[in-house]
């Protein structure tokens, strides 16, 4: 007695998990709870969400409401125990549904198509009839070729009392499309879990010229990389004269065991990968107080002479080759602009949007002239004597913002995505089509009775069959 009861409970639990009803309940629950997480800002400062809750509940209740929501995990909802439980329920439901239904479907897939009795022909969704001239044996050949040509089926045949029956099927495997899709969701979830347990997400702001062997996680913990990475250079390209960045990129060098093993220019959408760790270009900025270590780079072309590159520190002087002219770096602005009325220079941004350097030139020790040279404006590079002083870069002042990620599960996720694409294509755009044709001898020719089924998009199949009948009629007329 007791045993039977126990089995009953197991059965009930099994049935519960195997039900489509549970699946659609989970869809509804996931949708509704997910909305909450898009309204409450996730992983934000508490004050921001208290302010938000004040709008809904008023200032008196908001702090209490916040505590309640917080203790329920709503502030990091998608990682809360209950949300993950729903996701696991979803996975369990998928697995058990598949175990429950797959054997039946597999049987259907493997089952060969069989000839049918006259009775069966009455019950088809697609039912057609026509009469063709000639004996069944002769008609059979043209019907067979039409079926092959237009429907792409290769029919088997069986002799019948008054003629022949042709029968065939195509795409029985397409019934598995749904299961491929379902299975792919499980694969993606597995990939995500691998990523959570064996990977990490971090960031690294690396100034030009510096080396790091760690990255930092969101909560500020160091995460050793197992090798070192150095930023050799960082640069931004702008659209025309605007301050809108077109592309920004960094040149990175990987140093493993004291050896430089890799060097690559990365840009947005174009990361560097080494030993399973990927570095993505994500942001940039100026390192505060980096004036000491930064280096000005100029490309100097004396009038009619050869171009030379010079590197200088703030306050240092350089000379134009073959002349008595020397220049001294007096000032620098990362983003220079000039007041429209007074013409006075000012710095309008804290990014290197329009870098400029102020240089005073002297001849034989006597001050001659001075002015701003702007990196992005070649017009400012030319000196009165025709020499060109190009301001190439202030190296070492900027840092490159890198996202650092290790995710050994990402290939599993991609695999799941490919499977899902294939599964969905099969499930929605292909169908299992079956066809039976009886050829019955009559006085004036042969009666062709067609019966067909398709598990999806029956109208399209019906149109094709009608086209095949047209073809047969026309072929017959053409033959005479």
């Amino acid at each position: 007695m007791e045993k039977a009861d126990k089995k009953n409970i197991v059965d009930k639990v099994w049935d519960f998990f195997a039900s489509v009803r549970l699946a659609i309940i989970i869809f509804a629950v996931l949708s509704i709870t997910s909305i909450a997480g898009t309204i409450i800002e996730q992983n934000a400062e508490p004050e921001r969400n208290i302010k938000l809750l004040t709008k809904f509940f008023g200032p008196d209740i908001a702090p209490t409401a916040f505590r309640i929501f917080d203790s329920l995990g709503f502030m990091d909802m998608y990682h809360s125990w209950w949300f993950i439980t729903i996701l696991l329920l979803f996975a369990a439901n998928l697995i058990i549904c598949s175990i429950e239904r797959l054997p039946k479907i597999l049987k259907l897939v493997k089952e060969p198509v069989k000839p049918l009795s006259e009775e069966h022909f009455k019950g088809f969704g697609i039912k057609k009839e026509m009469v063709l001239r000639g004996k069944p044996d002769k008609v059979k050949a043209s019907v067979e070729s039409a079926v092959k040509k237009i429907l792409g089926l290769n029919p088997s045949e069986i002799k019948e009392e008054k003629g022949v029956q042709l029968y065939s099927q195509k795409g029985s495997f397409t019934r598995l499309g749904v299961y491929i899709t379902h299975f792919s969701i499980l694969i993606i979830l597995i990939g995500a879990i691998i990523g959570i347990f064996f990977g990490f997400k971090g960031f690294l702001n690396l100034p030009e010229g510096e080396v790091s062997n760690v990255a930092f996680t969101r909560n500020g913990h160091e995460r050793p990389l197992g090798f070192s990475i150095r930023c050799d250079d960082f640069s931004v390209d702008f659209y025309g004269n605007s301050d809108m960045p077109k592309e920004y990129s960094s040149v990175l060098t990987v140093i493993d065991n004291g050896q430089e093993v890799m060097r690559k220019r990365i840009e947005v959408n174009e990361p560097l990968k080494y030993k399973g760790i990927t570095f993505y270009q994500s942001s940039y900025g100026i390192v505060p107080g980096s004036g000491e270590r930064s280096v000005f780079i100029f490309r100097i072309t004396p009038a009619g002479g050869k171009t030379e590159e010079v590197r200088l520190r703030f306050g240092e002087t350089f000379s134009i080759p073959n002349t008595e002219l020397t220049g001294k770096i007096e000032d620098f602005s990362p983003a220079i602009a000039f007041d429209q009325t007074t013409g006075r220079p000012f710095t309008y941004a804290e990014q290197m949007s329009n870098p400029a350097v102020y240089i005073s030139f002297s001849e034989k020790g006597r001050p001659k002239y001075s002015g701003w040279i702007l990196k992005r404006h070649p017009g400012t590079w030319r000196l009165p004597e025709g020499h060109i002083v190009e301001f190439v870069d202030l190296w070492g002042i900027q840092y490159t913002g890198l996202q650092v990620r290790k995710d050994p599960g990402v290939w599993v996720v991609y695999l799941g995505c490919i499977m899902m694409a294939i599964g969905l294509y099969i499930a929605f755009f292909m169908s299992h089509r079956r066809l039976w044709i009886r050829l019955i001898e009559e006085k004036n020719g042969t009666r062709v009775i067609i019966g067909a089924t398709a598990n999806k998009n029956r109208q399209a199949y019906e149109r094709k069959i009608e086209r095949m009948m047209d073809y047969l009629t026309k072929a017959q007329e053409g033959g005479h």
Binding site: V20, R21, A23, I24, F27, A28, L30, S31, S34, I35, G37, T38, I39, E41, Q42, Y78, A192, K201, Y239, G240, S242, M244, P245, K246, E247, Y248, E267, V268, N269, P271, T278, Y280, Q281, S282, Q403, V404, R405, D407, V410, V413, Y414, C417, M420, A421, L424, Y425, A427, F428, F429
Partner: protein, 362 residues
């Protein structure tokens, strides 16, 4: 001729098409029907040319590869592309079902949307792409998303029509549902139109309208009387819609639309849209995010809302195919599905924050 001339032609053509479709429905003359279809096709071709020309203009200004210059990246361009997909979808349905009745509904939507874009001066100037958006995955993602959005929009309209035709009494939930949905939809559109009319001099971009002036002309007016009046007018409007909603039923009834055809189109649109959305909207979006930021899924609001949309349509398919949901019940799901689509497309960009930079608030 530049792209805006062709946009103007197509706007005009869609309105003309609307008039001819309505005339056709009134008189049932085959010739008028062919004229309506021809005018729609002219509008469609002209819109296609406009998109191609804009692509070319963008390519010449943008200093980048031809694919990167595809004009589908900001709110204005994506709306135009959405309308293009919608008209294409309609033309396919007209051909397949040999039924021109929907034309009277689809063409005014297209014409109004294009005219609205034009009137609001929604920033048409060509903006170069920020680096994160320069990806071919993004292009595939956006194109496929909008193809699926337009199939969902078709499912929404046929679903709504189904509910209108099949509801009998004013007390029925399905009747209340459709009058409420339609009422809220119209009230929101009118309220935003009033905001625009009142504050158009302060508005450079549609995002600014939503962020700073949303409902300031009506529900959130400084004057309490106008605010209260707005609420009263809105409620009375919805009430009137509810009271006299049977008029819509009569109009639709005279268009010889069978509920079965409507239901069939709703299902087929979703059956096409769902896989396209899964692949283009979710998977390609995830691949792009993975290439740009190294995170294929980060639960940002836009991603989460796409997932919600996906769940709603998965709900539709499973309820219909396996649980045997039929008729009005399943039509309600199709309508709600599109509400989530609209929120994913506009609401998230305009009301919530996220990583997605196009349409982001500044």
């Amino acid at each position: 001729m530049d792209s805006s001339t062709f946009f103007g032609i197509s706007t005009l053509a869609y309105f003309l098409a609307m008039i001819t479709y309505i005339t056709y429905l009134a008189f049932r003359k085959a010739q008028i029907g062919s004229v309506a279809t021809t005018v729609t096709i002219i509008g469609f071709v002209s819109q296609t040319l406009a998109i191609i020309l804009r692509w070319k203009e963008f390519y010449e200004i943008g200093q980048m590869g031809i694919l990167r210059a595809a004009p589908f990246t900001n709110l204005y361009e994506s709306l135009v592309f959405f309308i293009w997909c919608l008209i294409l979808g309609y033309l396919i349905i007209e051909y397949r079902y040999k039924n021109k009745s929907f034309g009277a509904f689809v063409t005014p939507v297209a014409g109004l949307a294009l005219a609205f874009i034009d009137l609001t001066g929604m920033s048409k100037e060509i903006q170069p792409l920020v680096p994160a958006l320069q990806s071919n995955w993004l292009l595939a993602h956006v194109i496929m998303s909008f193809i699926s959005y337009s199939t969902f929009a078709l499912a929404f309209s046929t679903g709504l029509m189904y509910l209108i035709i099949r509801s009998e009494k004013r007390t029925e939930p399905s009747y209340i549902f459709w009058t409420l949905m339609m009422g809220i939809f119209i009230v929101l559109l009118v309220a935003m139109g009033l905001d625009y009319l009142k504050y158009r001099f302060f508005i450079q971009r549609p995002e600014v309208l939503i962020k700073s002036y949303l409902f300031k002309a009506t529900f959130k007016n400084e004057s309490g009387i106008i605010a209260i009046l707005s609420w009263i007018v809105s409620f009375s409007f919805i009430f009137i819609l509810w009271r006299y909603g049977y008029i819509f039923k009569k109009i639709l009834g005279s268009f010889s639309l069978s509920p079965e055809v409507l239901d069939d189109i709703t299902y087929k649109s979703i059956a096409i849209g769902f896989p396209v959305f899964t692949l283009g909207g979710l998977i390609f979006g995830a691949i792009w995010a993975d290439q740009a930021w190294g995170v294929y899924w980060s639960w940002d609001p836009k991603e989460t809302w796409s997932l919600i949309t996906w769940f709603v349509y998965a709900f539709y398919l499973h309820a219909r195919l396996l649980r045997g949901w039929k008729g009005r019940r399943i039509a309600v799901v199709a309508v709600l599905g599109f509400v989530t689509v609209v929120f994913t497309y506009l609401g998230v960009n305009l009301l919530l924050s996220g990583l997605h930079s196009y349409g982001a608030l500044e």
